[in-house]
Symmetry: C2
C-alpha cells in the first residue's frame, strides 16, 4: 500500500538478506543456489511482487527472447488465425510475441520494424514480400533475422507460405473445365499486396493460356469487405456480355458477391457462379456453400515459428517452405447457364 515504486533486484536482496547476484541466480539458474537460500529469496520476491525489469535484463544479457510480427491489419481473420498458432509455438519455445499492425502502409510498416527492433526483437515475421528495398536493406544491415509469410517470395529472403498464383490457376482450370467462357474477377488491391496480385495473376495467366474469350480478364480491385464485394459484383453484372462466373480474390469479397446476387434475384450457381479464396469459417455457412481454396493458416503459423526460431538460432533453414492448398468444392461453382 505504501510502496508505489517498482521493487528492484536490490530491494529483494536486502529483504532476503543476500546479495543481488544470488537473487539473480535464483531467477535464472535456480539449481546453483542452495534450497534454503532459494526459498528465502523466493518469499521475498513474492511478498514484494517483484518482476525483473526487462530493460535492465536485456541490457545486461544482450538478448530479449522476443520476436515481433507486423501484419497489415488485425481485422482479417486469416492473419489472426495464423498468428495465434505462431504465438503458441513461440510460447512453447519460451519466446514472447509482440504484434504490430501496419494498415497496409509500407511507411508505417517501417516504423513498426524500428519499434520492434529497438525493443530488442530477436527476429521478425512479415507478411508477404512486397516492400520498399530500403526496408529490406535496413533489416539486412541490422542483421535481424526475418521471414516473409503468407506467400512465397523472390530469390532471396526466407519464406513460408502458399503459392497463391498456382492455387488461383488451379481453381481457374476447374472453372474452365466446367465450361465457362466469360470469366470476371474481383480482387484485393494488388499494389503492395503480393498475395492479392498473385491471385489475380494466376487467374489471368490461365485464361490467357487457354485462350478463353479474347484472353483478357476483367478485374475490379477493392479492399476486403463484404460491401465492396457486393458493389463490385453489381458492377460486373452490368457489363455486357455478362460474365458467367465471378472469381473472387478472397472469401469476404465472395460472400459479399453472393449476397448481392441473391438481392438481384440471381440464382447461384444456376444463373452465375462465384468462387472464393481462403476458406474462412463463414464460407461453409452461407447458402449455397462457397467453392473456394483452403489455406491452412494454423499450419503456416507453426511452420513460420519453426523457421524463424531456427534462423534466430543460426541453424540451417530451407529458403522456402510451401504450405499446400486445396480446392474445396461446395455449391457456388457450377456449369455456365445454357443460354
Amino acid at each position: 500500500m505504501s510502496e508505489f515504486a517498482r521493487p528492484t533486484l536490490d530491494d529483494v536482496a536486502r529483504a532476503a538478506g543476500v546479495s543481488t547476484a544470488t537473487v539473480s541466480r535464483c531467477l535464472n539458474s535456480p539449481n546453483q543456489v542452495i534450497p534454503a537460500t532459494r526459498q528465502r529469496v523466493m518469499e521475498a520476491v513474492q511478498s514484494l511482487g517483484y518482476t525483473p525489469d526487462f530493460g535492465g535484463r536485456a541490457l545486461a544479457s544482450r538478448r530479449t527472447n522476443t520476436v515481433g510480427a507486423i501484419i497489415p491489419t488485425m481485422e482479417n481473420a486469416i492473419f489472426a488465425r495464423g498468428l495465434q498458432s505462431f504465438q503458441e509455438a513461440l510460447t512453447k519455445a519460451g519466446k514472447t510475441l509482440l504484434v504490430a499492425s501496419s494498415g497496409y502502409d509500407p511507411a508505417r510498416e517501417r516504423e513498426q520494424m524500428e519499434a520492434l527492433i529497438s525493443r530488442g526483437a530477436d527476429g521478425l515475421l512479415l507478411i508477404g514480400s512486397a516492400r520498399p528495398e530500403a526496408s529490406i536493406e535496413y533489416l539486412r544491415r541490422r542483421g535481424v533475422p526475418y521471414i516473409g509469410a503468407w506467400n512465397l517470395g523472390g530469390p532471396d529472403g526466407y519464406f513460408v507460405g502458399f503459392d497463391n498464383a498456382a492455387a488461383a490457376a488451379k481453381l481457374t482450370e476447374m472453372v474452365i473445365a466446367k465450361g465457362h467462357q466469360r470469366i470476371a474477377m474481383i480482387g484485393g488491391i494488388s499494389d503492395m499486396n503480393d498475395r492479392a496480385a498473385a491471385r489475380i495473376l494466376g487467374v489471368r495467366q490461365t485464361i490467357a493460356a487457354a485462350g478463353i474469350g479474347d484472353g483478357s480478364l476483367r478485374v475490379i480491385e477493392a479492399p476486403y469487405a463484404f460491401q465492396n464485394g457486393a458493389d463490385a459484383f453489381g458492377a460486373l453484372m452490368e457489363t455486357s456480355p455478362r460474365p458467367t462466373v465471378v472469381m473472387c480474390g478472397n472469401d469476404v469479397l465472395a460472400v459479399g458477391a453472393l449476397q448481392k446476387a441473391r438481392e438481384m434475384g440471381l440464382r447461384v450457381p444456376q444463373d452465375v457462379s462465384i468462387t472464393g479464396f481462403d476458406d474462412i469459417d463463414i464460407s461453409a455457412v452461407v447458402d449455397p456453400g462457397l467453392t473456394t481454396v483452403r489455406v491452412p493458416h494454423r499450419r503456416m503459423g507453426e511452420a513460420a515459428a519453426e523457421m524463424l526460431l531456427r534462423l534466430i538460432n543460426k541453424e540451417t533453414v530451407e529458403r522456402q517452405v510451401e504450405i499446400p492448398t486445396a480446392i474445396i468444392e461446395r455449391g457456388t461453382l457450377g456449369p455456365p447457364p445454357a443460354a
Copy 2:
C-alpha cells in the same frame, strides 16, 4: 555488409565527431542543438542505420511509452476490431501497443501481465473483470494503471464497456413481447468469462421476472464456434416441449444454430426463432439476417484508449464509461408458431 553489430549511440557520436550527449539530444530535443551539428549527427544516424536501444532508453529515462493489452484470443473478430481502434488512438498519442493473448486462462493472463510489465508497460488493457484476486493485487501493488474493457465491473477498478446483462434483458423483453413462452439459450462458457455470464444472467432474470414458463431457462454453454452452435441447437430441438426461440450469447453460435436449423428443415423464423449478440459482419449476410445486439467495438476501443491514457497521465477519470448498445432487428426473430 561488414558491420553486423547493432550500432550504438557511441558509434554515432564517433562518426559525427560529437559526444553521446549531443546525439541523444538530437534525437530527443532537436531544438537544443545547433542545426549544423544536428545535420552532421543525423547523417551519421542514417548511414549507420541507428535505432535507439529500447532497453537502455527505458532504463535511463524510466518510461517506455508502451501500453499492453491482454485479450482472450486473437481469433475473435470482436476483440480484433476493438483493438484495432484502440491501437490507432494510442499511436496518435505516441504510444506503442503490445498485444498478448491468454487463451481464456487466468494463469496465462497473469504470466502475460508480468511479461508486459517487465517490458515497462505504462498501463494495461484487460478484458472484463473476472480474474483471480491475486492478479488484481499484483497490479495494485505495482501501481500499474489498468482498465477492464468489453463489459462493466464491480465497485472498484476502471471500466469501459457494455452492460451485457441489460442488453440481453432488453432483447429478451422483445422476444417475450413477440409472444414466446418457451425460451432456450446457447451461451458462451460463463466460468471466468463475465461477458458470457452477464448475457445469460440478463436473459434468465428477465424470464423469471416475467414468469414465463416455469420461470427457469434451459442453457447450454459452449465455446464460441459455428459447430458448437449447431450442435447445441440440435440438442435443444430434441427436448420436449421444443423451445420456440433459441437465444444465443454470440453471433457465431447463432449462425451455427441457423445453419443447423436449415439442415433440419426448420424454417426461421416461422418454425423457430433465433437471436444473436455482437452484430459481427456475417450477421447481415446470412439469410435471413440475424436479429442481434449491436456492440460498437470501434467506439469502445477509442474510449478505452482515452481512459487508459488519462489514467497514465494521472488525470481525473470516470470509473465507468458505458458504451450504448442497440438491438438490430433483421429476420430471425418472429412470433412463435401457432401450434
